[in-house]
Amino acid sequence: PIPPPPNLKGRQRRGSIVKVEEVGGRTEELLDRNAYVNINANWVNAKGAWLIHVVLILLGKIVVDTVPGMTQQISWTLVNTIYLALSYLMFHWVTGMPFDSELHGGAYDDLTLWEQIDDGAQYTPARKWLFTAPILLFLISTHYTSYDPWPFAINLTALIVLAIIPKLPQLHRQRVRFLAEDIASGAQTPVTPN
């Protein structure tokens, strides 16, 4: 039987507004990841990778402080939010590996750097440090300034949304999708993998 043309299909059910789905757990992806060492992610365990956070934050604070007319509140807020934004971009936004793809064949394409660290084991030393560093920065910043309510709120929200929530083990390999279309196009022709 000839399938009906797509624009004459009946009313299609819309997907939900917010959907949480798991990525990167298929068998062939797990097999391909086990082939070689993940050089994209094992530098966080190397010497100096922990100290670099402190060094970069200090440098950033000094640079920001040289701007004339800078108050302590703005300075600490800037350092805090820039650090959180950059570390979010690096650890939780960008997926995949920039290195040669022959070794892993794109098996890490769905995983962010945070999810690649230590092959997905939670509460490892590197992860504990990366968890604690933004919190320490926030506490130090609130100690040395007296924040007005708004900067305090900005800092706290940035900390929770950009640093704490993405690093929770419950969100490991989960993606939150807004207005996801889950209508399979061309249902007569099945797709592998689905």
């Binding site: 391909d32 064949g105 084991a121 279309e181 196009s185 007569q188 099945p190």
Partner: protein
């Protein structure tokens, strides 16, 4: 004053408790200030607090959360820890005591033993009329692939023996590492010239050719549109490539166009980048002998900008005026097909396979074709046999017309047989027939034409009936075979069939006689069963 009495009594009982609390607090404070450095801590906390209890509570919650995270122990990684069950020592000991090793090879089931016993053993070389060891009689071979009768060709045998004397037997290495002999390069050139392609590359095993070509070009993230009825080697190649696959209905061009349009819609919706896209299909399907409409597929591929990987394992050396395959049959230049995969083992009665295409396509496979890089190249004498077979096909187009006549004669007899349905194209050298399903009178009369998957069939039952037909035919002098598959491993389960491989080495009379024997066997077995 009467009401005040209970409160005063309550307060009087509480007074010693409160006095004790106050006393212990002052003791703690003095004790705290005696610890060295406590004044620093007190000053720090006071300046952090900044008279804002809300902020302090938030910070204390953060500190507690951070300490809790630091104290958690490490969990297992994704690498395979998911199914790990933690056994205690006593349980481990119990399991070890109970364990008995399984045999290396499982004992065969009754059906497997019967199947093993039913494989005929022939004495001497294989050919169109081999001699059985068990009875000593000659039988007509309708089971082996010998389409143009090249198995046992005397001239090819002589040339092969000469090559054996010159080069020895093995090629002693992979083609990229001392394994390429000049006869391999000659065969590659011969195949390319024969087909009209720019270049060709040789693989040493015909079955693994297409499952190396596909992963050489299709990677994760690419899109493959494949026919549901492709053979197992193509399915494994697709699985190895890790690409996204969209399956279309078997040999159905409208379904193919639907799939191509669906892929384009998906890509637009996702606003994704343009990835490499491939159409994978076979020239003549090994599963049922259907032939694709090549010009239409090429038109579709050019319209939607896809590359075509065509597996001509059965059609190379068997169709077309001189056996060049579908390109000759449909008069399509071979440059229109991006990767033309064929089998030297099936069509030219030698061994191995090839992939023909443009120079870039072929050169890419010299490093990225896994079976080319990691397997030994074929023996020199088989490469020479392949070259000689091509010369034979060029000079003797009458074999192919004889093959087509034989196919027609066979089909004419089988179509008149009751109880079976013949699958496939009328020019296909592979003729499959399956048991006609017993359709109840209420359903539509077209029973054999229903597409695969829409009707359910009893695999084991039909296999047994077909096996009886095969054994009956062998007892009467015709060697047949069922089409054998790795059940439960195929993507879409194929229907049990008997596969007849026609050959031009038999005369028309012999073919008609053999077909008559098959027809009688079918009638006998089916009437016994009824």
């Amino acid at each position: 004053m009467e009401n005040a009495l209970p409160s005063s009594s309550v307060s009087s009982t509480l007074e010693p408790v409160l006095a004790l609390l106050a006393y212990s607090l002052t003791k703690l404070e003095t004790g705290f200030y005696q610890i060295p450095g406590s004044a620093v801590v007190a000053r720090y906390v006071k300046s952090s607090h900044q008279n804002d209890p809300g902020r302090t509570i938030l910070e204390v919650i953060l500190i507690i959360f951070a300490i809790r995270t630091l104290l958690q122990s490490r969990t297992r990684s994704d690498r395979g820890g998911k199914h790990y069950i933690q056994f205690g020592d006593k349980e481990v000991d119990e399991l070890v005591d109970e364990w008995t090793p399984e045999p290396l090879a499982q004992p065969l089931t009754e059906w497997e033993q019967k199947e093993l016993a039913s494989i005929p053993v022939i004495a001497g070389p294989n050919g169109p009329k081999p001699k059985l060891v068990s009875t000593g009689k000659t039988v007509t071979n309708l089971a082996s692939y010998n389409f143009t009768g090249l198995a046992g060709n005397e001239h090819i045998k002589e040339r092969a023996v000469d090559t054996l004397r010159k080069y020895g037997l093995g090629s002693c290495g992979p083609p990229g590492f001392y394994g390429t002999i000049d006869v391999h390069m000659d065969l590659e050139k011969d195949i390319a010239e024969f087909l009209g392609a720019e270049a060709a590359i040789l693989y040493s095993q015909g079955y693994s050719t297409v499952s190396s070509v596909i992963p050489a070009f299709c990677k994760r993230g690419d899109i493959i549109v494949a026919d549901r009825g492709v053979n197992y080697a193509i399915q494994k190649g697709i699985q190895l490539s890790r690409s996204t696959v969209r399956w279309f209905d078997h040999n159905d061009l409208r379904s193919l166009e639907d799939a191509l349009q669906a892929v384009e819609r998906d890509r637009k919706k996702r606003k994704g980048p343009l990835t490499r896209r491939f159409i994978i299909t076979e020239g003549i399907f090994e599963r049922d002998g259907e032939m694709v409409d090549l010009p239409k597929i090429i038109e579709l591929k050019n319209k939607y900008k896809y590359r075509l990987i065509l597996d001509e394992s059965i059609s190379f050396g068997t169709v077309g005026r001189t056996g060049r395959g579908l390109t000759e049959l449909y008069n399509v230049p071979a440059s229109q097909i991006d990767m033309l995969v064929g089998s030297v083992a099936n069509g030219l009665c030698s061994s191995g396979g090839f992939c023909a295409g443009s120079t870039i396509v072929v050169e890419h496979q010299r490093i990225n074709g896994t079976s080319f890089v990691f397997s030994a190249s074929m023996p020199a004498l088989l490469a020479v046999s392949g070259s000689e077979a091509i010369t034979y096909l060029r000079n003797t187009p009458s074999t192919l017309s004889a093959l087509q006549e034989n196919i027609r004669a066979l089909r004419a007899v089988l179509e008149k047989t009751e109880g079976i349905a013949i699958l496939g194209h009328r020019a296909s050298p592979i003729v499959h027939f399956s048991l006609r399903s017993v359709a109840p009178a209420s359903l539509s009369p077209a029973s054999a034409a229903t597409p695969a998957g829409k009707e359910s069939f009893d695999v084991d039952g039909e296999e047994r009936i077909l096996q009886e037909i095969v054994e009956d035919a062998l007892a009467n002098g015709v060697m047949l075979t069922r089409a054998k598959y790795l059940r439960k491993q195929e993507m879409f389960e194929p229907r049990p069939t008997i596969r007849i491989a026609m050959t031009s080495a038999l005369t028309r009379k012999e073919v008609e006689k053999a077909a008559g024997v098959v027809k009688a066997s079918i009638a006998r077995v089916l009437s016994r069963r009824r």
